[in-house]
């Protein structure tokens, strides 16, 4: 996916001004947040499950090479193939080769965040395939050529008005007089259009929420059933996924499953949870003839030995996005990468490099994300690590400022003098809010906030005065 993080500030500004977007985002606190909290309350073992989930992932990550080999052996034993992709380009090439070998024209695609990470659908379109997103949310944004704005609800930024316009424009073979008012109208129309795609697709591509090493099984969770139709009807099924999705066995998977839907949408379980093990068996009269699993690294192994290793526990539930005040106000597009919110602020700089370097600053450090993360990932701590790294890398301006400050702090007399001179000026300027708008970088900051009043005197001078007053009182 095109990475647009470089003009982060500008996009923040636009997001805050966009009334339509603000209206669409207003449902997040009442929807996801409330439902998650109810679902968690209804499962007394939630905390124990979360503790176990952390252990399972830590254990798997500590032995990831073993589990990956085990997974590969099991997939082969069930008649499938595993492909290894170090970089996005490797994954794209592998998928292209499989599609070509199958003479594929039409490809039905289920939802996959790794697919988004490597911008798979656009790649396939460029290569001349007809690639159709079949998850309704993904389909909606494909019609608009946008990137998803949420990892589990890709079209959460759209209103009914937006979708109506897109449907009238895209589905030209349907009557122009038709009603498109209720959610049912839209869903029925999309169902009708996409049904034909499922039935005629040559290749079905899905993601995976988990991979079971013991049985070589890949798992998807959906509510729509699009993933199942995408992978059951075409002749070839390709799973695009990444290596940290591995878990040892079924019993480990269920622990994570119990946390995933509850944390994501507040459902006890998604409507469909599907375990796929290899292609069609002898005697089966349905199912794909080929089963391919493409495993992407893209910098994940580097994380294993870094300060960010805990991020590899992430199960992509989206709870940290839903509870983040920054995300709630901006939506996902302002982040400019396919992984937004707190998890994105940690992952995107690793996956997309310099383009996403500002994202770790998109946080108020309120810590809600840490609290709601079922995998107990210390998200704010890791954003801080990126910030520190950023400060090192940025060099120039911030380094000079830090050095100046350090120089002053080591010389108390000079420090006091500097404060005495600068404080009254800063304080006066602070009171002239209008004037502050001309300070560099302050305009956009002040647009949605007011400045706190600066004290006219430093803490030190007040402290000195207080102490001498106390002394006087005691003497009296």
């Amino acid at each position: 996916m095109k990475n647009e993080s470089e003009d982060f500030r500008e996009r923040v500004h636009h997001a805050l001004e966009d009334q339509n977007l603000q209206q669409a985002l207003s449902v997040i606190p009442t929807g996801f947040v409330t439902k998650r909290s109810n679902a968690k309350a209804a499962l007394p073992d939630f905390q124990q499950l979360s503790d176990r989930a952390v252990e399972i992932k830590n254990h798997t990550l500590a032995n990831l090479d073993h589990y990956l080999e085990k997974f590969e052996t099991a997939v082969k034993a069930s008649g499938g193939q595993v492909h290894f992709a170090e970089k996005p380009n490797d994954a794209l090439e592998i998928i292209d080769e499989i599609c070509k070998a199958n003479n594929a024209k039409l490809i039905a695609k289920g939802k996959s965040m790794v697919g988004e990470e490597i911008d798979l659908t656009h790649f396939l379109e460029r290569e001349g395939y007809e690639a159709v997103e079949t998850d309704l949310g993904e389909y909606l944004i494909q019609l608009r050529n946008e990137m998803p704005s949420h990892i589990i609800a890709p079209a959460v930024h759209l209103t009914r008005e937006d979708i109506r316009k897109d449907f009238y424009k895209a589905h030209t073979n349907l009557s122009k007089e038709r009603d498109l008012d209720t959610p049912e109208d839209f869903v029925r129309e999309a169902r009708q259009i996409l049904r034909e795609k499922f039935l005629n697709a040559d290749v079905g591509i899905t993601g995976a929420n988990f991979l079971i090493a013991e049985t070589g099984t890949s798992i998807i969770v959906t509510n729509e059933g699009n993933g199942d139709l995408s992978q059951n009807l075409p002749k070839t099924h390709i799973v695009i996924t990444s290596l940290e999705k591995l878990v040892p066995n079924f019993e480990d998977t269920t622990v994570l499953l119990r946390l995933l839907a509850r944390s994501a949408t507040g459902q006890p379980i998604t409507t469909y949870t599907t375990f796929s093990t290899g292609p069609k068996r002898a005697g089966d009269n349905h199912g794909p003839e080929q089963f391919h699993v493409v495993i992407l690294d893209n910098g994940r192994t580097e994380l294993l030995g870094s300060k960010f290793k805990e991020m590899l526990r992430c199960i992509r539930c989206g709870a940290c996005l839903n509870h983040c005040p920054v995300y709630q106000n901006l939506g996902g597009h302002a982040y400019g990468t396919v992984y937004p919110g707190p998890m994105g602020a940690v992952l995107s700089p690793q996956f997309f490099g310099a383009h996403a370097k500002e994202l770790p600053f998109a946080s108020s450090f309120c810590g809600r994300c840490n609290e709601v993360c079922p995998m107990q990932i210390p998200l704010t701590k890791m954003m801080r690590h990126w910030r520190e790294r950023g400060a090192h890398d940025q060099g120039a301006v911030s380094n000079i400022i830090m050095k100046l400050w350090a120089g002053l702090a080591k010389r108390p007399r000079l420090y006091n003098f500097a404060l005495r001179v600068s404080l009254p000026i800063a304080s006066w300027a602070g009171r002239q809010n209008a004037l502050m708008r001309y300070a560099p970088g302050a305009k956009s900051w002040l647009k949605h906030r007011t400045l706190p009043r600066l004290a006219t005197r430093s803490f030190q001078s007040e402290w000195r005065e207080k102490m001498s007053k106390n002394k006087n009182e005691q003497q009296q």
């Binding site: 669409a24 449902v27 929807g31 176990r52 399972i56 830590n58 254990h59 990550l61 500590a62 032995n63 990831l64 090479d65 073993h66 990956l68 290894f84 992709a85 170090e86 490797d90 080769e97 070998a101 079949t134 309704l136 759209l158 209103t159 959610p183 049912e184 839209f186 869903v187 169902r191 996409l194 099984t217 729509e224 059933g225 199942d228 139709l229 059951n232 009807l233 290596l243 079924f250 019993e251 269920t254 622990v255 949408t265 459902q267 006890p268 409507t271 949870t273 375990f275 796929s276 093990t277 068996r281 002898a282 089966d284 009269n285 349905h286 199912g287 192994t301 294993l304 290793k309 805990e310």
Partner: protein
């Protein structure tokens, strides 16, 4: 795959694995790196999930409660012989006609369909269908904990029949209702081992294991719950041997 492609894919694999092994040995993220493969295979550090145990009735109750909350229509039957008549009654209240698609399912075929003469069973043996009002499959088990039915692929219950119809009819033997996912899975393993003796069935899990907990839904239009996204608009479950 051509020879050069094969070579390339081998190279890719080896490089990938080498990187990973190196990273894993250097990282040892939690000090939990197993000393040996044997240790990994024999010592399970992680104890299985143990919720408070529910008895049979409580399991059935919980299954019902969750399935209903997940927009599913449920009927209890004392035994399997009552299925045709009940189905006839239920379908008379709906607008889906009387033609029901099934797999090559000896159990369903052995029921006395004379009792519901207007219903017509159509066998699916591999054909893809676009418009399908009614299909019926048999769940091999259920997990009460979240009202979840377990289906497995094969000619008896073709997987697409769970997803294509507007109305999916699921049969479930009350004796196969378990409390947890793990128990339902284990039950699946047991019956497939039993079956293997006679019919040379592939071992569990088969190609596809499908956990279904209600009709298809989406909230992609303004976060409003809407049923019948791509899969069934309705899920009707007939529980027999209650």
């Amino acid at each position: 795959m051509s020879l050069s492609q094969q070579q390339k894919s081998e190279e890719r694999r080896n490089r990938f694995m080498k990187n990973l092994s190196k990273a894993v040995s250097q990282a040892d993220p939690t000090g939990k790196r197993a000393a040996s493969v044997e240790q990994l295979e024999t010592v399970r550090e992680i104890s299985p999930y143990q919720p408070d145990v529910l008895d049979k009735d409580a399991c059935l109750e919980r299954l019902r409660e969750f399935l209903k909350a997940q927009n599913t229509e449920l009927y209890d039957l004392a035994n399997a012989e009552l299925i045709p008549q009940k189905l006839s009654e239920v379908l008379a209240t709906k607008n889906y006609g009387t033609e029901i698609m099934i797999g090559e399912n000896p159990f369903i075929q052995s029921l006395n369909w004379q009792l519901a003469p207007e219903l017509k069973l159509v066998s699916n043996n591999g054909q893809k269908v676009s418009d399908l009002n009614l299909a019926m499959t048999h769940a091999f088990a259920a997990a009460a904990e979240t009202g979840t039915l377990f289906f497995t692929s094969g000619p008896e219950n073709p997987t697409p029949l769970n997803y294509l119809p507007t109305c999916h009819i699921a049969l479930l033997d009350a004796q196969t209702i378990h409390q947890t996912y793990e128990q339902a899975y284990q039950f699946g393993e047991e019956i497939s081992v039993e079956k293997q003796g006679v019919s040379n069935e592939p071992l569990f899990p088969k190609r596809s294991l499908n956990l279904i907990s209600g009709p298809s839904r989406t909230a992609d239009i303004e976060q409003t719950l809407t049923l019948g996204a791509h899969g069934p608009l309705e899920l009707v479950v007939l529980i027999y041997n209650v």
